[in-house]
Symmetry: C3
Subunit: 277 residues, 3 copies
């Protein structure tokens, strides 16, 4: 049923799109649905520049009354997002680490706390920060390709997911699965991710965007005001916890990431990635 | 095994029953089990009068040492309870809204905090407040008819389930399912409700009361004292939260429900219901 | 991948073992894996002596840099551990109850908070405190024999699992299942325990230790430092809660257990156990 609280969509309104360097955004004003496509080769790393653009794009849509929902997906084949850009965490200054981490927090606060309906159309692998982006949406649809995997695999790199990654994960899969998956740094192939509840639905890759649009339509059938208040109620505790500990969390990150042992571990990991190519 | 802490049931004790306007209560003193049947046509709406009678009936049973458990069901076909009576929330005074909401809180505090074993025998559809009644019991058995549905569908009406509805729901189905179901205002057909854990068991409608009695007997085999302390420990955090914020919750309800946009939305919903008939 | 943060295992290192009265411990220094075998006939009751030895053994391993993981199992057939020794809770002095309960707390704080990888190889029944030991590990593998059961069945004895048993249980199986299982004092046969998530995996009894070693190797492939910080983050809230309320919890236990009604109930239970033999 259409929302009694919302003005009807403007039929036949033109599509508006804006594209910066790393993310392409298209807003269909007739449906009120924006599509954000990550297009930062080779693997949609969440660099400082990417995160900033992502946050600004979300803010623009949030403030655009014509926009009620966002579908987030990748324009690159096989990869949704590879997560936080390791080069931002390696051999940089304390100031840079602080700026980078603040940008990660900012993105999560905007996305997890968005009043829009957010649907992740996960059309490729999605480790670490890429998984966090998906976890922060309202609904996750993944291409059923078992070669695509998703998970918070930070511990594989010798680093630790911060408490708010963990809180977001626990809210989705529960404590037991989150505890095991985080300790093992598991990357779950799509079918396993679905069994664990990490993604809500699997569809053939070619049907992914069609399905995302259908799911979005279902969510947009609800009155925005009631849905937004309900979402805020569900997510408030976890959002408030980061807001209350934001500076402390940045300090912790800087202390941890600038340890020589961690830097060495990250350098080894980057070497390994280079050899893979 | 029989409880070492409890006196044995009095065999061949007479059944006592009391019936007010809207709920019929029968207590079988030999088993210690009361049956409460909602009989307020057409749909067992939780009006102020119904809620008051419900609370008083629970209090009577709670204070009756012969009563150890309650089975809650409907005397009407196809409907367990349609939830809060919308007419109580539409076009009334602030004082009325406050009195009504206090009665809703009171009922939930009594039922969710009951020291008796509470089994919901859900023999019909159970939206919104009707679902809350079922969620507040220790165990939920539902008729396996897929035409019967259950869920907290408040957002469909443009209103928002309060935090203690949400807490009760999360305790039963976990955070992810609660978040999605509450945002979408989902009414889950019985088989889906069972898959989600919203109800514990499905049985053919004609076996519902027999099954409820068998489940009750299983729960009553435990020593009351240990079971009651365990139940209190499990539910204390969520009960305490409403107790601590009760007046604030009433104020929030009044502010929200008396908004013109919400009143309009509820009037439209009632019109729609009338046309359906 | 091997951990960049950890020194490699010392190949061909000798096995060191130490055995006290009730628990046999073997450490394979080449793999860094210790095996603890409960061998306190007839049923591996957690007596004060057993608990003390258990805590000391864990402490020794925790402080041994050659040890990174522990597999916990039973040397007796058909029983993992029968849980807290009832004779320690029956007809003793207040001082004894306090000392005993402090030892139970101590064991749980060490095991649930262990920085080592802990795998429970549950090769027999595991009621009450025995179940707590398994729940406190990182991973639970159980022999698939349906005659073996596991659960927190305290309420069957007329007693109540303390809040930190409950918190540990909720972290593993979620609120709804924990609430029902604790109220009913359920002992779940292995297949049911697996369905509920109470154990992570079932294997034929003869493959149990082999499987435990394989799982351990998988967990040890992760960098210790990252895994340990992640584990601490997951378990901190629940551990802190007991630490903050430890003396209060001891007082509550003493008050409860020294009630005449509870003492009578425990004596009856012990009589029943004796007759069974």
């Amino acid at each position: 049923p259409p929302s009694p609280l919302q003005p009807p969509g403007l039929p036949l309104a033109p599509c508006r799109s804006f594209s910066n360097n790393k993310i392409q955004v298209e807003l269909d004003e007739s449906s009120g649905v924006a599509t954000m496509k990550f297009k930062s080769p080779p693997v949609n790393s969440l660099s400082l520049e990417f995160l900033t653009e992502f946050s600004i794009s979300l803010e623009k849509l949030e403030n655009n009354r014509a926009c009620r929902g966002v579908i987030i997906t990748s324009a690159l084949p096989k990869i949704f997002s590879s997560g936080l850009d390791i080069t931002e965490m390696c051999g940089k200054s304390m100031e840079h680490y602080a700026e980078f981490w603040r940008a990660v927090q900012e993105l999560w606060l905007r996305l997890y706390g968005s009043s829009m309906v957010t649907v992740a159309a996960v059309n490729g692998s999605s480790p670490a920060g890429g998984c966090l982006v998906a976890l922060s949406c309202d609904y996750r649809i993944m291409a059923e390709n078992p070669k695509f995997s998703i998970g918070l695999n930070e511990s594989q790199l010798g680093i630790v997911a911060p408490f708010w990654f963990k809180d977001t994960f626990v809210n989705v899969v529960g404590h037991r699965i989150a505890e095991r998956s985080l300790q093992l740094g598991s990357l779950h192939p799509a079918p396993e991710a679905h069994r664990l509840g990490l993604v809500d639905e699997l569809v053939p890759e070619e049907k992914l965007m069609e399905k995302a649009a259908a799911v979005m339509a279902q969510w947009l059938a609800l009155p925005d005001h009631a849905r937004q208040l309900t979402k805020a109620m569900m997510r408030k505790a976890v959002l408030d916890r980061l807001v209350a500990h934001r500076e402390e969390d940045i300090k912790n990150f800087i202390t941890f990431i600038s340890k020589e042992s961690i830097q060495k571990s990250l350098r080894m990991y980057m070497e390994m990635l280079k050899k893979k190519k």
